[in-house]
């Protein structure tokens, strides 16, 4: 089991144990749910990490691995900038302001944010 999985699993176990202790000490439902939910969400992350860790040990987890061992494993070009994150953030801000100042502003913000999401998705392909 790799270190990331162990860390996430230990954190999830801590969440479960502390939730149980808290319930029997405090009998308070909000905090118990927080702690149990924390444990459950970390357990989910641990499960994903464990799933990804199946198979051969990759070079980054082998102490004796050399840089050359990852040669040829290309990740393609680094993204050469994108304007759409700016529009998505601006659209989100207008959308939020629209909930305070009027639906028309929310509609404009929603349109900008929606267009930015679509453009970012297309860019990512």
């Amino acid at each position: 089991m790799r270190t990331a999985t162990k860390v996430l699993l230990a954190s999830a176990a801590f969440g479960a144990v502390i939730a149980a202790i808290y319930w029997f000490v405090a009998y308070e439902i909000a905090g118990t749910i927080f702690l149990a939910a924390m444990g459950a969400s970390l357990l989910l992350a641990a499960a994903f990490a464990a799933r990804g860790a199946r198979g051969d040990v990759p070079p980054e987890d082998r102490p004796e691995a050399l840089p050359a061992e990852a040669a040829g494993e290309r990740v393609g070009p680094l993204p050469d900038g994108s304007v759409w994150p700016v529009f998505l953030a601006a659209g989100s801000l207008l959308l939020a302001a629209g909930l305070i100042y009027g639906v028309w502003l929310a509609a404009i913000g929603g349109l900008i944010a929606g267009a930015a999401v679509i453009a970012m998705t297309r860019e990512g392909r």
Binding site: R2, T3, A4, V7, L8, S11, F14, G15, I21, Y22, V25, A26, E28, A30, G31, F34, L35, M38, S41, L42, G52, P58, P59, E60, D61, R62, P63, E64, A65, L66, P67, E69, A70, A71, E73, R74, V75, G76, P77, L78, P79, D80, G81, S82, V83, W84, P85, V86, L88, A89, A90, S92, L93, A96, A97, L99, I100, Y101, M120, G124
Partner: protein, 539 residues
């Protein structure tokens, strides 16, 4: 998935490339510069407040504006300065420290930054609304933040601003975890990852489990305010205490979001200027995890005086945090013990961090005890304790990091004499500002008051605190002057002026777009040191 190759986009300058950048280093710089500008704004607000409190009577601001100032000051310093600066530093350093060419999700990384900026704009826009900015304190407790007592749009903008910054933090956390877990270079096992990266990983875990409840609390509050909801209205079966639970389930871990990355910074700086390996690497990693775990179970120590929480449980959990924190201090002292110590500016700030945080930590243990907390709750004592932790701790960590990694960011060193001068101004100014607040707090002076009775005897310490705050501000001005002077004179100092340890120092300063032309073999948690001193030479 180990990654060593990626095609580099051509380096370009200009405003447009900064606005559209997806390069983690540029995004990191944007984060840090933006956070620093927010720091200057928040600091200006603090100076106005300290001027107001210098002596009894009204001096410069109305009570309404004073309430807005302490609310927005707290919000800025916590959500728009310290935490974003730490995340910006992580943005810049984490891929370099693990040997990755960029973050796992570069476009989402850019989105994180712009959402942070949008959130900051929303919060500050409150000052331009009828009724002004939020005036509820940074905690925003209902019913004060509800529609009856805060009808203006300031609170709504504050809520949305913080929700946008929360979304930004969550995205950054996902990026940190994916990059650190999946994009490490060959040989960079998790037990060789530098301490700063470990603390960033743990910080990301805290963010992932603690920020969503905050967004839930703010969404409920917004529904109460704008759509006639009753989540926190006891007259209709709602519960203001539920808000406090939701808020503090984020609020206390947020303190560790602000402090843990700077524990990492200190753990990077001390070995370099002690000329020794870090003492107890594994212990420091486990202590970081221990602090994070315990921090999730202490939220209601902020609610001792409600009488509606289990005081013994939260008290014991809060006391326990002192144990892993003590391990860290022990290991830091062990690192310096019998080392060849030198004291350039980053080391001075690191030592200042340790001294100030120690006082913040010890007073934290005091207020973790319900009998003491009942006495000092909502007094200036708590203000002093919190500022010793975050201002004396984290913010000194910010300046330690700034002076240490400035040559990595720019290729030039900050001026040493100006650096030392700014450190002493800030160290003396900080302690003269906040130590008197312990005194007046124990004498019963409440926090969040615009004026006080001259007969209370709080005037002298307050005047001293105000004088100290201007000294502290002068120290910050000297840092800004230092940055400007150093960047204008541009005296390049090479790739690794400190003789440092971690992998980011094994590439050029500043690094190329794709971070590394070639990676050295990674055989320990000090690959840059190993590269300079091959094993035969050390033998």
């Amino acid at each position: 998935m180990a990654v060593t190759t990626a095609e580099a986009a051509p380096a370009r300058g200009g405003l447009v490339t900064w606005v559209t950048t997806t390069d983690h280093k540029r995004i990191g710089v944007l984060y840090m510069v933006t956070a620093f500008v927010f720091f200057l704004l928040g600091g200006l607000m603090a100076l106005v407040m300290r001027t107001e409190l210098a002596e009894p009577g009204r001096q410069v601001v109305s009570p309404q504006l004073y309430n807005q100032l302490f609310t927005v000051h707290g919000t800025i310093m916590i959500f728009l300065f310290v935490a974003p600066f730490a995340l910006g530093l992580g943005n810049y350093l984490l891929p370099l420290q693990v040997g990755a060419p960029d973050m796992a999700f570069p476009r989402m990384n850019a989105l994180s930054y712009w959402l942070l900026l949008a959130g900051g704009v929303a919060i500050l826009a409150g000052f331009g609304t009828f009724g002004g900015a939020a005036a509820t304190g940074w905690t925003g407790y209902p019913p004060l933040s509800g529609p009856r007592y805060s009808p203006g749009a300031g609170v709504d903008l504050w809520l949305f601003g913080l929700m946008l910054t929360s979304a930004s933090s969550i995205m950054t956390a996902v990026n940190f975890l994916a990059t650190a877990f999946l994009f490490r270079a060959p040989g960079m096992t998790m037990w060789r990852v530098p301490l700063f990266t470990w603390t960033s990983i743990v910080t990301a875990l805290i963010i992932l489990v603690s920020f969503p409840p905050l967004s839930v609390a703010f969404s409920f509050l917004f529904v109460d305010r704008r759509f006639g909801g009753h989540f926190f209205d006891p007259a209709f079966g709602g519960s203001p205490l539920l808000y406090q639970h939701l808020f503090w389930f984020l609020g206390h871990p947020e303190v560790y979001v602000m402090i843990l990355p700077f524990f990492g910074v200190i753990s990077e700086i001390l070995p370099v200027f002690s000329r020794k390996p870090l003492f107890g690497y594994t212990g420091l990693v486990l202590a970081t995890l221990g602090i994070a775990g315990l921090s999730m179970g202490v939220w209601a120590h902020h609610m001792f005086t409600t009488g509606a929480v289990s005081n013994p449980f939260f008290s014991i959990m809060s006391f326990l945090i002192a144990v892993p924190t003590g391990i860290k201090f022990f290991n830091w002292i062990g690192t310096m013990w019998r080392g060849q110590l030198s004291f350039p500016t980053p080391m001075l700030f690191a030592l200042g961090f340790m001294l100030n945080f120690l006082i913040g930590g010890v007073t934290g243990v005091m207020v973790a005890s319900p009998p003491v907390d009942f006495h000092v709750h909502d007094t200036q004592f708590v203000v002093a304790h919190f500022h010793y932790t975050i201002m004396g701790g984290s913010v000194f960590g910010v300046f330690a990091a700034l002076h240490f990694w400035f040559p990595k960011f720019t290729g030039v060193l900050l001026r040493e004499r100006l650096g030392r001068f700014s450190f002493w101004l800030m160290m003396v100014g900080f302690n003269v500002t906040f130590w008197p607040l312990f005194v007046v707090g124990l004498r019963g002076m409440p926090r969040r008051i615009v004026d006080y009775d001259a007969a209370a005897g709080w005037g002298g310490p307050n005047l001293l605190a105000t004088a100290g705050s201007f000294l502290l501000a002068l120290g910050v001005v000297v840092v800004v002057v230092n940055i400007v002077v150093s960047l204008r004179r541009k005296e390049f100092v090479g790739d690794d002026p400190w003789g440092a340890n971690s992998l980011e120092w094994a590439t050029t300063s500043p690094p190329p777009h794709h971070n590394f032309e070639s990676l050295p073999p990674i055989r320990s948690e000090r690959p840059a040191f190993d590269m300079r001193h091959p094993s035969e030479e050390r033998a």
